[in-house]
Symmetry: C2
Subunit: 249 residues, 2 copies
Amino acid sequence: MRDCIGILGGMGPLATVDLMRKIIEATPAARDQDHVPVIAYSVPQVPDRLAAIASGDDAPWPWLLAGLRSLERAGAGMVAIACNTAHHWHARLQSETALPILHIADAACDDIATSCAPGSTIALLATPATVALRFYQERLHARGYAVAVPDASQQECVLEVIAKVKAGEVSGARALLEPVCEAMLAAGCHRLLLACTELPLALAESALDTVALDPTAALARSAVARSLAARNDKIRDGHQVVGGFPQPR
Amino acid sequence: MRDCIGILGGMGPLATVDLMRKIIEATPAARDQDHVPVIAYSVPQVPDRLAAIASGDDAPWPWLLAGLRSLERAGAGMVAIACNTAHHWHARLQSETALPILHIADAACDDIATSCAPGSTIALLATPATVALRFYQERLHARGYAVAVPDASQQECVLEVIAKVKAGEVSGARALLEPVCEAMLAAGCHRLLLACTELPLALAESALDTVALDPTAALARSAVARSLAARNDKIRDGHQVVGGFPQPR
């Protein structure tokens, strides 16, 4: 199904659910059938991505590839990866499949371009691996933004926030994250880029939500736009359509 | 993966997300890898189940079967159906696959038996199709409970609540559902069985939540218990295990 969004997820599982919810919210729909098809592979046994990147080992790779193959067999028409850090393997996954794999930083930066003036300073809140891999900084610099990263103690705190969300302690995570965000705003940052899929969950009920930029939501909107375009292509190309929808098989 | 929960969903998509969230909440976990693997097939184009059951046509069947086959190919080890009404096709789906397909009413009634005294009266809030199919009433009567169903105007209202949730209007849905629940409690019902996967979403932020019985949560707990048992079996049977988890493939 070319319009079916495959989610390579489970990293963590709550972040996968968050992406799915944001896909629903990004879809104009009055009834079930208006929504876009999604197949989510949420297998949280993928070994720790941070530890692997830090030590240069490749433990997550066979798990990520197994997830990609599962989504192919299940019938996905595109892939979205519900984990910023796992985008370390984005190019390698893309080289293994004919399915388009969206990049969360492309989606986020397209979105930022519509809401932030060039020259703004963006606080990059992410895992140390995502910060070190520089895929956000490169894209943001290319669009004329300045990027600030947390100092060492703030970065420690961000990691602790992520672990708390993964353990289900969302309100404790929020209490830890807010002071880091406030310090970065006080130091001159204009917006907070929540570039780990656990962080939007931590800040969802915070007043700081208004200055946050959410790559998960941007990825959801990008995937929905692509899915709706593929649905329209199918209908235009004369697939058997019942009730406005192409039929299975 | 015998421990992987396959979700046949999309009916509607928010109910699928709700089941996934309840699976996460039902799992004792301190980190990603402790959670159970889930593959969710959330394809909301399945034709209207109510209309099909009312008219005796079989339009949803090829879509449900396509979903089951997708979950088999993707590697699911069991199936949970994230829609009460679609359990009309439960036995027929089970006859098509070697994978165990959990029944939401079995899970719900096992749960009710732990929290409600026999002789209690349970208000069955569901689609007219689920009410007419009687799979809840039969199981509840067998365990010694009385069952009350909404009158015609209350049933109309429940249908409207379900449509509102499917359209994303959750707070409007709550405002409509609460008076029906209060009337049934005033008429002598002891507990409210929310036997359509949209209804727990409508009542999530209501004070009535304390007397509600949630089959979605019961299905989640049942699936998690089965998944954890399968994981332990795999570990005991000497599969290659790294970090406590059987390896992919």
